[in-house]
């Protein structure tokens, strides 16, 4: 269910690391809790993020929720196409990356959960 090539936070973000950068999105569990996503508010490229810092918001009919960065680093890319089609967060959450972050310290990843651990958390 949860892709094994990603790592997960207790706030229900995933990060998929390739080289020195990782794409970040929210999990299937998170999108189900939110319901129909209608807006995404994402940061500018170049912004510096700390671990756990809010990098934007995701808004559904029900509520608005903060998005938290799983790692420290600099925003390398923003998925502005997703912001135009936010419903994709519901239909395909694990392919819907929101930002790509250049990792400041790869050690941050050690604190994250594996797919298996995350599955246990939300079960």
């Amino acid at each position: 269910m949860y892709p094994a090539d990603c790592q997960y936070t207790k706030d229900h973000e995933w990060i998929k690391v390739t080289g020195d950068a990782g794409q970040v999105g929210i999990t299937d569990y998170a999108q189900k809790q939110l319901g129909d996503v209608v807006y995404l508010d994402l940061p500018q490229v170049g912004r510096t993020l700390k671990v756990g810092e809010s990098f934007g918001t995701v808004e559904s009919v029900k509520a608005v929720s903060e998005l938290y960065s799983p790692v420290a680093g600099v925003v390398k890319a923003v998925n502005s196409a997703l912001a135009e089609k936010p419903e994709r967060v519901n239909s395909d959450p694990h392919a819907s990356w929101m930002i790509e972050v250049t990792l400041a310290s790869p050690g941050d990843l050690d604190a994250l959960m594996s797919a298996e651990q995350y599955s246990d958390l939300v079960k």
Binding site: G35, D36, V38, Y39, E59, V61, K62, V64
Partner: protein, 347 residues
């Protein structure tokens, strides 16, 4: 499930948006048992209801209901309610769950000088609402009462799924539909029977979330959001529930004074021009300063727009005029539009 006024309430069953759309296009079933009931009976029942309620209860025929305000001497809301005339001298008020204790105390105090008994009968009724264009055809399969003969905002006593109850053509969604009062012990049976009867029409249960987005599209006020004890009936643009010709009632003088003076602020409907949802409590900004507050706001699943209601200065409460809403530190543009946002097609 969320705690709500002492009840555990489902925000959604299968999903807010699809529940909302089911009600607009087919029918959705709501458990609104949490709503409170107060009954007033006795020789002075009409006079007592006339005193505490802003609308003119003397105009209700037996079997008829209307929307009204339970008003303070300042013309603001202790609560809003539906007033049902059960008999010549017998009324049922349907009030908000979160206000039951407060309302019961208020009504007892305000009706003390009348020959009337005011009783909290909330525990005697479960309230189940089937709402949507197919509500009547589904419900008719379960009742010997001719539902088409019940006019909008009228009710009848009769059987539903073999259970004795009161069938009322009312609701809080902007759709046609029925609310049925049945004994709590029989509620599950009635609930299941309606879902069974509506299987072919794909009738589904709908939760608090859809109830809120549906009522907002229909511009029905929500106590605690759009109206409360700081907003007058006129502020809330509900003059139609003031019985000006019925004589004295709580708040009459204050409302008459306010009408003569002109309201300083008024509730309006708005649509967002910018991509954002303005929610309850967000500041309305006009000419760089806070000029009011958003009272309700959402993205509506049916109209697919971000809409809401807000109080703005009366001079600015004009359709077509614009204002900003401060949303998490940023300003987003909104345009005032006429209410309601949604009106059902009448056939």
């Amino acid at each position: 499930m969320v705690p709500f006024a002492g009840w555990d309430m489902p925000v959604e069953y299968s999903g807010l948006s699809q529940e909302h759309l089911a009600v607009r296009t087919r029918a959705g079933l709501f458990d609104v048992t949490h709503m409170g009931q107060v009954e007033l009976a006795g020789k002075d029942a009409v006079a007592a209801v006339q005193w505490i309620s802003s609308n003119d209860a003397a105009r209700l025929k037996i079997g008829q209901a209307h929307y009204s305000g339970l008003t303070t001497p300042a013309g603001t809301f202790v609560d809003d309610m539906l007033v049902y005339r059960f008999g010549e001298d017998h009324f049922l008020l349907v009030i908000n769950a979160s206000n039951v204790e407060k309302d019961v105390a208020w009504i007892a105090e305000q009706t003390r000088r009348f020959d009337v008994a005011a009783v909290d009968t909330s525990a005697r009724y479960a309230l189940i609402a089937l709402q949507g264009p197919l509500a009547r055809q589904v419900m008719q399969r379960l009742s010997n009462v001719d539902l088409a003969a019940i006019k909008y905002y009228w009710f009848a006593h009769g059987e539903i799924a073999g259970v004795r109850g009161t069938l009322s053509r009312t609701g809080y969604t902007g759709e046609d539909g029925y609310e049925v009062f049945v004994p709590p012990q029989q509620a599950v049976r009635v609930w299941d029977a309606i879902l069974d009867a509506g299987r072919d029409e794909d009738v589904i249960p709908a939760g608090l979330g859809a109830r809120d987005t549906l009522r907002l599209e229909a511009a029905m006020r929500l106590y605690g959001n759009d109206i409360d004890d700081t907003t007058t009936v006129l502020d809330a643009d509900l003059e139609w529930i003031i019985g000006w010709n019925k004589g004295e009632f709580l708040g009459r003088q204050a409302l008459a004074d306010q009408k003569a003076r002109g309201v300083a602020r008024r509730i309006v409907g708005f649509e967002m021009k910018d991509r954002a949802i303005a929610r309850h409590g967000y500041p309305v900004i006009i000419d760089g300063a806070e000029a009011g507050r958003v009272t309700s706001g959402t993205q509506t699943p049916f109209l697919k727009k971000a809409i809401g209601m807000a109080y703005v200065p009366a001079a600015r409460a004009v359709p077509g005029m614009e204002f900003d809403v401060e949303i998490r530190g940023r300003l987003a543009r909104a345009t005032i539009v006429p209410l309601p946002f949604y009106k059902r097609p009448r056939g």
